[in-house]
Symmetry: C2
Subunit: 401 residues, 2 copies
């Protein structure tokens, strides 16, 4: 007689249990203090519990509430936690859309594996989000207000009560939806019309990630320890740290976003869109990053409007190369991208005593970031002929309000 395999349950979004809130919360106005606080969620949340013995229990959509967590829980001591950043968009055709949600699902799975949290069928993530938005979508993203979005935060934590340093035996997947300020409408008064981020290059005493580490996974452990440098940069008027790595000071990420530069190659004279590569596992494989690269490769290889054709290059490059290009007038533009702040131009980079203005530098030839951003927006909001783009996942079946 053979051994009996013990099979634990898979995450299954088709059997979600739904409990509706009887105490709906006011929906904050765009630009209101509630929205700007990043701390106000919609009426409901998704939760799914996992144990090493039984696997995934039936997921729930239930009223938003605080989590009850044992003081001994792994996530409070050992940072057994990972997350995703996503958005749900109210389209100009009245539909709700997710943008490439399986990319996020797959990355959450990879992050979970990097910190010993349980595996799951990543395609279920978008279905769980759909269940949540079928209920909260109509009130929180009204059909007659296209162009609005909610920020989504799928999170996986080790919440079992075992204090020993060990692989978590219990975990909780939860998904919350957060009204979020529109980054394109956030301008500091002193910026006037010159909107853009100010980046402060990191110093060798503060290193975000390392080969053999976990900089490529969306773990909590990448964020908390970076806040000291971030806080110091903000205190002197900068928006983000530009994280450098290694003795030659390679440019890796900007804050929690991927960094891109458009410059003229000194040898060839060609326009290049350059960003750090994924191979050395120092940077997060951003979904927006991937999309920007794909669009640039397919749509910007030929002249487009006033834009010269661009060559896409994923490679290690150093802050010295950026400075040299800037001194020689070869910078065209720089931008960062990520879900939370989308595609945002960089105004200034400070490295030590050198302030590099990225907006004036190549203003005449710039426009790549804006072009890519507008293509992405069309897909996200289902407009300009992009109602059925393959990167969109349309959420059907919204409740009556």
């Amino acid at each position: 007689m053979g051994s009996v395999a013990h099979s634990v349950a898979e995450l299954d979004a088709s059997v979600v249990k739904i409990t509706r809130s009887t105490n709906l919360r006011p929906v904050p106005e765009p630009g209101s203090p509630e929205e700007l606080s990043h701390s106000y969620c919609t009426d409901h949340m998704v939760t799914a519990r996992w144990t090493v013995t039984n696997g995934w229990e039936t997921p729930e959509v239930k009223p938003y509430e605080n989590l009850s967590i044992p003081p001994t829980a792994s996530c409070l001591h050992y940072a057994t936690e990972c997350f995703e950043g996503m958005k749900v968009y109210r389209g100009y055709d009245g539909k709700l859309r997710l943008f490439r949600p399986d990319c996020n699902g797959e990355r959450l799975l990879m992050s979970a594996q990097r910190t010993s949290l349980p595996s799951f069928r990543y395609e279920e993530l978008k279905v769980l989000i759909a269940k949540l938005m079928q209920i909260d979508g109509p009130r929180w993203l009204p059909k007659d207000q296209p162009g609005r979005f909610l920020y989504l935060r799928p999170t996986l934590i080790g919440n079992g009560p075992h204090l020993g340093v060990q692989t978590p035996k219990e975990a909780l997947l939860f998904i919350i939806a957060v009204p979020w300020p529109d980054p394109s409408k956030l301008k500091r008064p002193e910026q006037g019309t010159q909107c853009g981020l100010k980046l402060l290059a990191s110093t060798p005493d503060s290193i975000r990630a390392w080969p053999g580490g976990f900089g490529y996974a969306k773990l909590g452990a990448n964020y908390g320890p970076s806040l000291v440098a971030h806080g110091k940069a903000q205190a002197i008027g900068f928006d983000q740290i530009l994280w450098l790595f290694g003795e030659n000071r390679q440019v890796t990420e900007a804050g929690a976003s991927n960094f891109f530069i458009v410059w003229e190659n000194k040898e060839t004279g060609k326009v290049e869109l350059v960003t750090a590569p994924l191979e050395n596992q120092l940077i997060l494989p951003g979904v927006t990053r991937r999309s920007v690269l794909q669009l640039a490769r397919t749509e910007l290889a030929e002249p487009t409007g006033s834009l010269a054709p661009v060559e896409v290059v994923e490679k290690d490059f150093t802050i010295s190369e950026v400075e040299q290009a800037w001194k020689e007038g070869r910078i065209i533009e720089a931008f960062v991208c990520g879900t939370a702040f989308f595609v945002t131009p960089v105004k200034l980079i400070r490295d030590g005593g050198v302030d590099m203005d990225m907006l004036e530098a190549g203003a005449v030839r710039a426009g790549y970031a804006a072009q890519i951003k507008s293509w992405l927006e069309a897909i996200m909001y289902g407009k300009d002929g992009q109602e059925n783009n393959e990167w969109s996942y349309i959420i059907e079946g919204e409740s009556e309000k």
Copy 2:
């Protein structure tokens, strides 16, 4: 008229608010499943809330309970969390003692600063623990059972509801006390009388810490990402990873403990006690580590019983040097130390295809770890003339049971 400085409240253990449990829990027997689970706490816990606006609120001793945490809390997403490992010992004179608690207080403060959590007067930590143990000590560490201890876990988390990646605006300090198995009584059956840890040397694809990182601080972020390697090692019969760093494969830490080796110096023929240095900030500055080094420097510089005098060396050393010393019969013993597992001999180190037996190697000349351990135990439990050692903090004023 000058500006009015806004002063926020300091952490103040003298004003603690006490709420006693009316539902006392059974005390688990030594070696019971409850104790072995590392998940069962005493009747009460300490909590102290902090906000950026008001500083530290009045600390509380209250019945042990789950924490209510917003799903948006910083500690669940960004690993804004740090902790200490300590023990409270029931002495042979009937008194409760902490071992060098200000060392832990100071390190918790350092860890808090490394992950943007609030500062506090670190001397208050031992007083808060005393308030907890005055209540839980008599039941959980009975006066007539000297030689027992509880594990203490002071923890600081960012628990405010702001989901933006930013310095925490709210935090919670909590202290729990956990019945913990006595590491000297934990033996695997297959070990027989040859008790000792089996360590698996890490490979370059898994790095615990790096220069400019946070390996020297007791942050959650150091633990979760290490569990994958740890779990794989355990699956093939090892107890801990021996973490190496750099191209020359320096020996840094073992699991979450500091690593020591006693060997004969090839040039001088002298006995050396060697451990990794603190300067490059790769390893945790252990309280036990510091104590071992101090005792070895002051008490083992001259011949002691059958032990030859030892020279204490804090320096970078590589796994190749360990292997060479092992091949040449110069290894005397190896051990790890830390609060949770105290001073524990190393039985075996595996690096790639090489298995180095550390027990047989120098058994005749060994005994340094056991000697240091017995001195430390005397201090911790107030015996052998160590009733008033300066490293002890005696907790007075225990409640009647």
